[in-house]
Structures are given as C-alpha cells and as structure tokens.
Symmetry: C2
Subunit: 240 residues, 2 copies
Amino acid sequence: MKSNTARLHAVPDTGNSDTFAVPEIRQEGLSEHLARLNGTALRLHFHRSETIAAAGDTAAYVYVLSSGCIRLSHHVADGRRHIADFLFSGDIFGLGDASFFALSAEAVSPVTLAAYPRAVFDRLGEGNNHLRSDIFAHLSLAIAQAHRHLFLVSCLNARERVAAFLVRMMEKTQLVLGVRLDLPMPRQDIADHLGLSIETVCRALAALKAEAVIEVPNAHVIVMRDIGMLRAIASGPSQS
Amino acid sequence: MKSNTARLHAVPDTGNSDTFAVPEIRQEGLSEHLARLNGTALRLHFHRSETIAAAGDTAAYVYVLSSGCIRLSHHVADGRRHIADFLFSGDIFGLGDASFFALSAEAVSPVTLAAYPRAVFDRLGEGNNHLRSDIFAHLSLAIAQAHRHLFLVSCLNARERVAAFLVRMMEKTQLVLGVRLDLPMPRQDIADHLGLSIETVCRALAALKAEAVIEVPNAHVIVMRDIGMLRAIASGPSQS
DNA sequence: CGCACGGTTGAGGACATTCAAAAAACGTGG
DNA sequence: CCACGTTTTTTGAATGTCCTCAACCGTGCG
C-alpha cells in the first residue's frame, strides 16, 4: 500500500523531521476553564473494557480523562472495527459531538475521568472568548491529527506504521526523552488502530527489535533503543 | 480545513444504512454569514493544477469555492502525497487553520472562489453566536468525515474503497438521484485519495463495470447502473 | 497443576503493487 | 480538420506485502 504519486525519490531526508508535523501542544487553556466547572463535574471511573460512551449515545457530557487510557472506536456489525485514537490523562472526549457521539469510548485500562454536563459547558462558553478559542483550537488539532493518521494509514507500510505509532505514543504520554514506553492496550487494539492484522503488528515489532531499534521486555513495555532511527522509519520509506 | 460543508440530502438511502453515517447536511448558515462579507471578499480564479494555497502558508483567508473542484493534499519530499478531500461548489477551505494552512489546496478543474480575509471573518464571529455555532458545526463535521475516511482506508479493500468514493462523490456533487457522475479529477488523484495505486483504481472500476454496477463511457464520467448495489459494496464485506 | 488468554511465529494464499506496454484521450500546429 | 506528440488510462504478468489459518509459547489464575 503505498500508492502515491510519484515514485521518484531524491531526498536525502536527514531522517528526522516529521514530514507531517502536527503541533502536539498540551491544551492548558481548556483544562483551566474546565477546572472552573468542578462543582458540576461528575467524577467517574471504569475498569478495563468497559464502555464509557457508545457511538450514537446522546452527547450529554464532555469527558476529561484524569488517569488511565481509553480508545475511541467505531464498530460495524460484522465485527470489524477501527480505533480512531487513544486518549490519556488530560485528553478530552466529546467536544466535537454536538448531539450524539460519533465514536465509542472504551476503557483500555482502569480509568478515572471527569464528566462535565454539556449544557453547563456551553453556557460558560457563551460569555468567554478565550474558552471558545480554546475549543476552536482543540477541534482544529483533532482535524490535523486525523489527517496525519490518514496519511499514515494511506502511505506507510506495516513497519513504518508501527514505528509511527510508537513515536506518537511516546509523545502522547509525555515520555519525550524517556526510553521506557508503556503500552496499556492489547495488540489487537494497535492493529485496529493502524489498519493491520494483529500478526502483522507482532512481526513489525519483531523486525524493529531485530534491527535493535527497540527492545520488548514484555508485551506492554517498549524500550526505545534508537529513537532517531525510529523517527526516521516512522516518516516513511526514505532510506529504509 | 478540509472538508467542508457538505451537502445535503437526506437521501433515501435505499440500499442499506451506511455503516458509518456522517450527517451530510448542508450548512446553510455559514454561506449566509459569508455572503454578508461580500464587500471584503476577493474573487479569484485558477486553472487546472494551480496551487491556491500551499501547506505552511499563512492562513490569511478563508476560501469558499463557487465553481470547479479543488483537492486538499499533503505532499512529502519524496513525491508521495495524500489527498485528504475534494471540494466542490459551496465548500469551504481554511476555516480550521488558525495561523498556517495544514494542507495544500490545488485546482483540479478551473476554479472560481471567494477569499474572505480571516481577520474580518474572525471579527464578525465575535459578536455572533449563530455564526460561531456554524463554524463549530463545520469543524465537527470535518472531524467526522476524516474519521469516516479513516475507516474506509483502514478497513475496506480496493473495490469497496472505489465504490465508497463514487457514492461520496455522488453525494458531494448533489447528484443524489442522477445516474451520471462527473469526476473532474484524474485517476492518480483518486488513487492518492484512497491509498491505492492508480492501476488498482482502474482495475476496481473495471470490476464494478464487469458486475454491471456502473458504466464508464469515458474516463471522467461514471454512469450509475445499480446504486443500491454500489452502496452495499461501499459499506464493506457484509453481503457482497 | 492445568486451563485460558494474549502474544508470537510459521506456512501458504490472497490481494495490491510494480513494471511494462498498449490503447485512448488531449492539445498543438500545420 | 487532420497528423503528431504527449499525457492519461487501461490491461497484462510477475512480484511482494500483508492476511489467514494454525500451532506454539508464556503468563496469570482458579
């Protein structure tokens, strides 16, 4: 699956710069605003595999994850599913869903989160330009990330997708300089996120391990051995 | 950014429910609001293959397409590219790009469009709740569509992707009940949109033709022979 | 201890890509 | 209007990647 136009190749591609940079900025703003709503927030939690909200449900709340990991997925009748994204502490779910949730949110690991009634949330926004622009920024970022992932799935091969996934998980979990990455989700979830089969995910990890780019002490921990190389692989078939 | 406003049509949807329904509602609101800005709008036009805005450019304007077709694409150095979406008359580009465009916009066919200075646009929004909620809806829709496309690229095979593409183009170009679909973009663009090679797109079209689902009188015209079947194919390996 | 479950690895096959070439469409200039 | 060169589209054959099916391994738990 590569596709693409042109198969020319020239590009030294130093092997670094993300070719599809999406600013991965923490959205401080929104969190602050939400803190002000604490009085009306519900504190909830869920254990592994529980459904927090199902696609099609009335979007009565906006959720902010305080701990754990959740997946945003789309299920179809015949068992196939696609996982749009994984959310971690500080991430927000439901902001873009005006009336009904477009995706299901399910707990990957034990989760605690705050649920803000949408009505209250909206009311607050009406008098607050700053909050609104934060929401705007949040939605824009969500679009940019969806497009980045679209590029990943459309243009990268299995090994590159897995590498890109690891890089992204590193960023999302703030483990920018660390070497030890915790992957709370099972392989099947990674597969459904990347548009691969579970076996292919395993094989891609094995390949990266064989190249000494990563180590896999156990199934849920990845040790980054060569982050530069990992990023290079993640950005496409430049030199691989 | 992408995406757009989209098109109405509640569509009888004969065939079966789209497994990933995205409300394809026309955003009347935005167009009306924009009309009020006519005084400040620039009227531009471009011919085939011209770049209207490049990724990374300062997002000084919000564009509304009045005629023609443009593609929103992401290019990488080695020649690969991904086309996030195609825009038609009435669609909006640049709304989600606060400072810089995340995607390039290029004319697929001769294009005329209106460019609204972002500053003016933003100022209008500050005093207008209705406009703001239209923008919000626009961004939400863009996210939903990106997710739908993500599902398509992650879970469907070549024939299904091409079928889904045809269905979507039918909807976008308001040709809900018609049978004659005009495809202004070259095969390579379709391939880069669907994450396939150009040859595979051709073969998928040939397969649909062989099944008597479509006819292809010439490369840029598709005649729908069995829309119900097309929708069934587009929604995945359920009963095909 | 034995079972269940998630993960890993192997073999074979399906599907999409690549390379190659022919056919059709397009534009230009005579 | 036609001839010509260029570009786009289509088809064919071979290759490669990823998927499917299946067995195996390791860990955790009753």
